[in-house]
């Protein structure tokens, strides 16, 4: 009993870690002001590319990850160049279409993908490997946030017009965000395949897109850490809770979605709300109040 408990817990943690990587892929596009579901397509590209190479060319996990990331990145760069001209909701719809197209391609490229039969994944992913990759992705994003790109992405998200007058190349920043999202999504797809050990066209479909978006938006779309927390809550927790309640996953997800949307609209990790709260608190304190008064008088 204790052994199965432990196994379930590990499984939940593993899926949460991969979920976090996929969520971070979507986070990068939102960072630059683009709502995109394309992470699923990037993950599928990475997963099927890597699985093929692992089965046929004897690739180990690390070269397969590199190939998967490259595959996702190339697809994302191409899709970005084509789609970014679209307005926000049309872009979102176009990325949903991309998921549908990806599925059709996967089904019809039987020689490479196993078609509708799917394919066994020959390499198993270990927990430490997931931790390492997620850690590297987080480090990358934290550094990126402080770089010139971070400033450009935030300015583009908040006000593309103002951003352009500050010298930010808005389209190029968004295309770059798409490409980065593709690389991270591709890597996430390879790891997801390594956890599932068997992938078919349904492994990367609309339901995964919904979960990933839920992780990002409800975890908090204004800081990369939000995606990580979101993934623990929306992919890890359901896997673990499923043992107690049969269809627990869908019920819990639905209830959590509603609760967060209504009472924590900025997501679980919301730096903006924290800043506002801090400001209100400092205004309420005597020193803060004195400063406010001084400002009003001056």
């Amino acid at each position: 009993m204790a052994a199965t408990q432990l196994a379930l817990l590990f499984s939940a943690i593993e899926f949460a870690l991969v979920g976090a990587i996929l969520a971070l892929s979507t986070y990068v596009t939102l960072w630059a002001g683009l709502l995109s579901f394309a992470t699923v397509s990037f993950a599928a590209t990475g997963a099927f590319t890597a699985t093929h190479l692992m089965s046929e060319a004897g690739f180990g996990l690390w070269p397969a990850l590199a190939a998967g990331g490259l595959g996702g990145g190339v697809l994302a760069a191409a899709a970005g160049l084509l789609l970014i001209r679209l307005d926000s909701h049309w872009l979102a719809l176009a990325t949903v279409a991309l998921i549908l197209v990806t599925r059709v391609v996967v089904v019809n490229l039987g020689d490479l993908t196993g078609g509708s039969e799917g394919r066994i994944v020959p390499v198993k992913v270990e927990l430490w490997q997931l931790v390492l990759v997620l850690g590297l992705v987080c480090l990358f994003l934290a550094r990126l946030a402080r770089s010139r790109f971070g400033t450009a992405a935030v300015a583009t998200r908040e006000d593309p017009t103002a951003a352009a007058t500050m010298g930010v190349p808005v389209r190029r920043v968004q295309t770059a965000a798409f490409a980065i999202s593709g690389v991270i999504g591709g890597i996430g797809g390879v790891l997801q395949a390594g956890l599932l050990r068997y992938i078919d066209p349904d492994s990367f479909y609309i339901d995964l897109a919904v979960t990933v978006i839920a992780c990002v938006v409800l975890g908090g779309a204004y800081h990369w850490f939000g995606s990580v927390i979101g993934a623990i809550v929306f992919t890890g927790l359901p896997v673990y809770v499923n043992q107690f309640i049969g269809q627990g996953q869908s019920i819990i997800n639905g209830v959590l979605l509603l609760v967060i949307m209504i009472w924590v609209p900025g997501g679980l990790i919301d730096p903006l709300r924290w800043r506002r709260l801090r400001e209100r608190r400092s205004a309420a304190s005597p020193a803060g109040a004195a400063r406010e008064v001084a400002e009003v008088r001056s």
Binding site: R143, S147, F149, T151, A155, E158, T165, P271, R276
Partner: protein
């Protein structure tokens, strides 16, 4: 007025813009010298903001030429112009939500950042030095507009007048060669706009050319070296403010007599 000299910051000639059937700018010609504060005045709907949007590259012109520091630039969009040293503020203040006052100003220094993605990611000493310089300069710029004490506050919680100052600070952070201000004193009380006036007049000493769209005639008289008056998309007068405002056509456009 066409041609202009080497010493001119901005030369506009034959500039025209229509929105559908509506002609907003007829054929506008202007020359803004370096080190000058140049006013653009005129009644509502005269085309002032459209003119500013075209100069800053947010709108393409239908006809005409724009020369910036001797370089033709009417084909360039906003990002490229910003890189050439054009900065602007907006009539309806456009701050970036969620940033503190200091971060807001640092974002304005985007065009000066030289450390590329690879160095930034590696966190090299050069990347950290740039970050530090940016912060220091942002504090200097904030001090120059009188907002040093507010550096840590959330930008959107500032009082209205301070938000205007902050937007100007963000523009100044990019070390602009040409600064475009769209009604910097709109909605302000007298004490506040006098402060903005001093701030803008002080820019003359820093070698920044300023084009300021403004309704407030007293402010224009105080701070502008020259003023062009627009009416229905045409420049009806362009002169030093005191003379300009005495002209009958200007009085007619403004007061209807």
């Amino acid at each position: 007025m066409s041609g202009g000299q080497d010493g001119d910051a901005l030369v506009i000639d034959g500039l025209a813009k229509r929105f559908g059937g509506l002609s907003v700018l007829g054929s506008v010609a202007l020359t803004v010298p370096r080190d000058a504060v140049f006013g653009v005045a005129g009644p509502n709907g005269a085309g002032k903001t459209t003119l500013l949007n075209i100069i800053s590259g947010l709108l393409p012109a239908d006809a005409g030429t724009i020369t910036l520091f001797g370089e033709p630039c009417h084909h360039l969009r906003a990002t490229a112009l910003a890189r050439m040293g054009v900065a602007r503020t907006f009539q309806n203040i456009r701050l970036l939500r969620g940033l503190t006052v200091a971060e807001q100003v640092m974002a304005g220094g985007y065009r000066l950042r030289r450390v590329g993605a690879a160095r930034g990611l590696a966190g090299t000493p050069r990347a950290r030095a740039e970050q530090r310089d940016l912060r220091e300069r942002a504090m200097e710029v904030l001090a120059s507009v009188g907002l040093a004490d507010a550096a840590g506050r959330l930008a959107e919680t500032l009082p209205y007048g301070d938000q205007r100052r902050l937007e100007i600070a963000r523009a100044l952070m990019s070390k602009p060669r040409l600064l475009l201000l769209d009604e910097p004193t709109a909605g302000m009380n007298a004490a506040d706009w006098a402060g903005i006036g001093e701030l803008v007049a002080g820019l003359r000493r820093t070698g920044t050319a300023v084009v300021v769209v403004e309704h407030n005639m007293r402010l224009i008289q105080e701070i502008c070296d020259q003023v062009a008056v627009l009416a229905s998309g045409e420049v009806i007068a362009c002169d030093v403010p005191a003379r300009c405002l005495r002209r009958p056509e200007v009085r007619k456009a403004y007061f209807g007599k």
